[in-house]
């Protein structure tokens, strides 16, 4: 084909050949763009559209304008939907406390980053909780927390403490679930940091040591800056993990007791798809609010990646 193009005069070349350079990238992009449009962009637009309606998923949609948002956010003279309020605050608790996985993961990674006999085995053992399904994690922790038979209360009893029913107490239940979520998330952050530590430049460490740096100074000024890419990824996956905290809640408390452990994604599911749900409009409105919260984080991530790339050039 190359011989044909070089031999033919410019006038004789077909339209595609003339524009090959410009078009080919788009052709390669086209499948991805089509799928992205059909499975991401379109559903987002549809959610926006549905959120302006009252719809049970079966009959006709009724246009209600902003009514769903007014009820949800308490615009105008209405009170904010209490379930939404609880869910929103729980989401914040998740976001903040889930970040604990990053320092804990870092600590374990530093601890495991040494050469002793059988270290691979120890590493895999620490990584183990991330491999098992979130549903199993939820089950294991809910047994641990059981009010009478649970291991936690057995341990507390040894120290003479009163038994607690963590998942049955509306003030503690969310923290109990977050603790369960931290177990696999810490392992995830640990593995990210372990790979990051492999890339730490030994010469810099050596140089720092010659200059007398050690302990926390060494960690803070020499190691951590080199781990920045790992920290960034750990931050991203942890934030996203916190916002997706659906399965643990569903398994451990089903949103209870009395709705005190709901988060936005769970509330959205309850309103639109659960047994007593099928209020699609309202569910879509929650989804839209959640979308904007996530969008805030995504924009921040994209911005910092863009900034880093610009800095690298």
């Amino acid at each position: 084909m190359s011989s044909v193009t070089t031999n033919a005069s410019t006038a004789n070349r077909g339209w595609y050949n003339r524009n090959e350079i410009a078009i080919t990238p788009w052709l390669f992009l086209l499948p991805a763009m089509l799928f992205f449009a059909a499975y991401v962009i379109m559903p987002i637009c549809q959610s926006f559209w549905i959120s302006f309606h009252q719809w049970d998923g079966l009959g006709e949609k009724t246009w209600v304008g902003m009514a769903n948002y007014e009820r949800l956010l308490g615009l105008g003279d209405q009170r904010m939907d209490r379930k939404f309020e609880t869910s929103f605050w729980n989401n914040l608790k998740w976001l903040v406390l889930y970040l604990l996985a990053i320092p804990m993961g870092l600590f374990i990674a530093l601890f495991l980053n040494q050469t002793v006999r059988g270290i691979r085995l120890y590493k895999s053992l620490f990584f183990f909780p991330f491999v098992i399904s979130q549903v199993v994690v939820g089950l294991v922790f809910s047994w641990l927390y059981l009010p009478r038979e649970g291991l936690l209360n057995a341990v507390l009893a040894v120290f003479g403490a009163e038994p607690v029913n963590i998942l049955g107490d509306p003030t503690m239940a969310t923290y109990g679930i977050i603790a369960a979520g931290l177990w696999p998330q810490t392992a995830y952050c640990m593995i990210l940091y372990l790979t990051g530590l492999n890339a730490v430049d030994p010469e810099q460490v050596e140089a720092a040591r010659l200059d007398g740096a050690k302990g926390s100074k060494m960690l803070w000024y020499v190691i951590l800056p080199q781990l920045k890419p790992a920290t960034f990824i750990a931050f991203v996956v942890t934030i996203i993990g916190a916002l997706r905290s659906f399965d643990l809640i569903s398994v451990m408390t089903n949103g209870g007791p009395f709705g005190s452990t709901r988060v936005l994604s769970f509330y959205m599911f309850e309103e639109s798809l659960s047994e007593f749900g099928f209020r699609m409009g309202y569910g879509a409105a929650i989804a839209v609010v959640l979308f904007f919260i996530m969008l805030g984080f995504i924009v921040y991530f994209l911005y910092s990646m863009w900034r880093d790339e610009k800095g690298a050039n």
Partner: protein
């Protein structure tokens, strides 16, 4: 069980030959064509019943091409929407009363009033009400079961207690039980609906069946003094420590251990609780049943949830589906499928006989002679879906923090204002 069905078929055939029932007209010639059934009877015993029904119907109509799909019972509660839409089957399972509402309103269930009017369903007059919405009937029931107090007879004997008939006696009994170091009632409210049963009974006993239904239809305010009276009665049990602790952390099955271990003496439940109690090693001398005691002087209403068959309006073989529905509801088939070794529940047909089982007999007796108030379906079937979910959450909260009552009722009232428009 197959042999039971065989006799059923034989007797039906005789009926057809004799030409006594209206039935005979439509069944004189065996059916042809297709019949697609989607059923949610996925638990082992119901599944066997469903498969048996299809096998017998097939035997009666050898040229009929029956296709049976059984889906998970819990999953079906959300799947039914998709199934009724495109390519609907000819027969589906669902629940009676308000639970039919969304599908009736959306025009997805076939109006089968003609079967009730045309005499295709003899013996179903008593349950017709539960199938009626907007003055029409939308399906055919196939089984129902009573609710009530299942209690440890041996512990009652040990403490010298007798079955109470009034709420005062109930509370007096409970005091004795609490003093003996036990809880009066096992309950697990993790999935909320068990609390709905308690509210149903306390409200029906305090204010009567009709009031309970007015509340379900949104005609009465949740902050009404009569509703508060119901909660005040409920609080008496809560304050004396009548319920097992930490019930918000258990499912109803997990809470069964309190009863089998003898830490709690009674369980307000549907008749389906008997099977697991027996499986756990309790025999019929250790468990017994009594009707929820009276509180005010009102006719007693009872919870008796009914499971049903419906024809989707998009079905292609509606005549075959109608024939199947009248087959399922006929007296002999009802006797067979509700017997102790099949579903172990109550037949919906008045001409059927109840299996010789201590609990089925008591339940049948109670529902036919001592439920003059009326028969309700259950909290989550009588109240609209959204009201039910908000409501049951409030009921659970009340059971743990009775002091929050004002806040709870205000919340429920807010929901009522919005939901019933």
């Amino acid at each position: 069980m197959r042999s039971i069905f065989k006799t059923t078929v034989a007797s039906l055939a005789t009926a057809a030959v004799m030409g006594t029932a209206a039935f005979a007209a439509s069944h004189a010639t065996p059916l042809t064509g297709d019949l697609k059934i989607t059923s949610d009877m996925s638990n082992p015993a119901p599944r066997a019943v469903m498969e048996g029904l299809v096998a017998d119907f097939q035997e009666m109509n050898p040229d009929l091409n029956i296709e049976l799909t059984i889906v998970d019972r819990e999953a079906w509660k959300t799947q039914i929407r998709n199934v009724l839409g495109a390519n609907a089957p000819d027969v589906v399972n669902w629940y009676a009363a308000n639970r039919m509402g969304p599908y009736v309103e959306a025009g997805l269930f076939e109006d089968v009033s003609d079967m009730y009017d045309g005499g295709d369903l003899p013996g179903l007059d008593a349950v017709k009400g539960a199938m009626t919405l907007d003055g029409k009937q939308w399906g055919v029931p196939y089984t129902y079961y009573q609710w009530g107090m299942y209690y440890r007879e041996d512990i009652f004997n040990e403490l010298g207690l007798t079955e109470p008939t009034t709420f005062d006696e109930e509370l007096a009994n409970c005091q004795v039980i609490v003093d003996s170091g036990r809880a009066c009632y096992a309950i697990g409210t993790k999935f909320l609906w068990t609390a709905g049963g308690w509210f149903d009974y306390l409200n029906m006993r305090t204010n009567g069946f009709d009031f309970h239904m007015e509340l379900a239809r949104g005609e009465v305010s949740w902050t009404d003094d009569r509703v508060r009276e119901t909660f005040a009665n409920w609080r008496k049990i809560i304050d004396m420590g009548g319920y097992v602790a930490d019930h918000q952390s258990y499912s109803w099955q997990e809470a069964l251990t309190f009863m089998t271990d003898g830490e709690a003496t009674a369980y307000l439940m549907g008749n389906f609780v008997v099977a697991p109690l027996r499986d756990a090693g309790l025999d019929d001398t250790q468990i017994d049943f009594y009707q929820f005691p009276t509180i005010a002087d009102v006719p007693q209403g009872e919870d008796a949830p009914t499971d049903t068959f419906h024809i989707p309006s998009g079905a292609e073989n509606k005549d075959n589906a109608r024939a199947f529905l009248s087959f399922v509801a006929s007296a002999d088939v009802q006797t067979a499928i509700n017997s102790g070794d099949a579903l172990g529940q109550l037949p919906v047909n008045a001409d059927s006989s109840v299996d010789a089982d201590e609990f089925l007999e008591q339940g049948f007796e109670m529902l036919s002679t001592n439920a003059q108030g009326g028969v309700a379906q259950f909290f989550d079937r009588d109240f609209p879906a959204e009201m039910a979910s908000v409501g049951m959450e409030g009921l659970q909260e009340f059971m743990v923090f009775p002091d929050n009552l004002d806040d709870i009722l205000e919340r429920l009232e807010e929901a009522r204002d919005r939901i019933y428009q």
